[in-house]
Symmetry: none
Subunit: 121 residues, 4 copies
């Protein structure tokens, strides 16, 4: 269920966050489901436990998962995702749209790219 692209320039912990959100969006991970433990996932993916931990702690702060020390991490209710994380994602979209424009990308092309990103998979 989890995999990482070690060659990607996207940090591993960010790949893990994105993947978790994908699994939640797809309904594969539902509220209350247990996440793999930090150590087991680290072992499976061949990365350091600290890297997994960083991803999990990030997700907890964003309200995506919640953690009970000694028991594990669990998927939160959908509603609990932090406003600030959403705002952040929107700002990044704004900025990259503006930059694309500077490189001569037309609004039609940009809109198409966004559409395709939403239809992906």
């Amino acid at each position: 269920m989890y995999m990482i692209d070690i060659k990607s320039r996207v940090p591993i912990y960010e790949q893990l966050k994105n993947r978790t959100l994908e699994l939640i969006m797809a309904g594969i991970l539902a509220s209350g489901d247990k996440m793999p433990s930090v150590r087991s996932l680290a072992g499976d993916l061949g990365v350091n436990p600290n890297t997994i931990q960083k991803a999990y702690q990030d997700m907890e702060k964003e309200g995506i998962i919640y953690t009970v020390a000694g028991r594990g991490s669990f998927v939160s209710e959908n509603q609990t995702i932090n406003e600030s994380s959403i705002r952040n994602a929107i700002e990044k979209l704004e900025k990259s749209a503006y930059e694309a424009r500077l490189y001569g990308v037309t609004i039609e092309k940009a809109t198409l790219i966004v559409k395709q990103a939403f239809e992906r998979e």
Copy 2:
């Protein structure tokens, strides 16, 4: 003509690139126009000449400007902007659109954000 926002999370060299592209788009900088010298711009903006140098080297690599030893840097023909820079900008747009989706932003909202980024200023 040039200004930077020192508080911005956008790296200074990227702000300089963006600003140059804006000036070209707006017709204020035209093909063949001379760019300010690295040292004079560094002085005006109060930043390290290395930072300006980095921006200029980046832009030369991307085909936005060209440099003639001993004479200075000049704006390229519009057509020579590197395909790879454009592809890079498109990739960033794709990635941020995808991430926005992961955080629950709807396609309608994302499209609106892009539209506004293109109508800005």
Copy 3:
């Protein structure tokens, strides 16, 4: 009489302690009353007996209950609750009040929050 919230960030053994104190405060558990056995409570709540054991040991150390080998655990006289547990609770209150202040919470707001916590239920 006992219930736990498995999703809460509050450790289970702490929830059990809190609940016991609530029952004592409310007069439902009085000095000398027998506590449920570790195993029966673990079975009822569906948690590991070790967790219940931990809560009971903690409460014994704090003077809230006492254990008679072979007979079970019983509620102590109210007077025997450890000074150190009370001091600990006070320290936590102090610390969190101070932190709230650091985040800009006003003294009026903080006082109101405390007042409501005391009027709860």
Copy 4:
């Protein structure tokens, strides 16, 4: 300006966050001021750079400071502190007030403790 209590049970990175908020509250650190670099502070305090980094990244996510890679970290405008951090501090205060009550602390005593936490220093 910075010091840590290595014997405290409060994690070092949390002590650093609290101290920074104190310095901001006291007006010693103002918006735009440069924070000590991760490595210099680590050296001064004799702790690992990763620990400082964790504190800084936490504070950046909470909107207390902002970071420009290659240039350093700077104190944010007061307004930018995240709502969710404040909500978190309030929840902790609520919880500890309730626990104090369970240990027999009176509302008068609790109110006094809060008052003193706000008048400290």
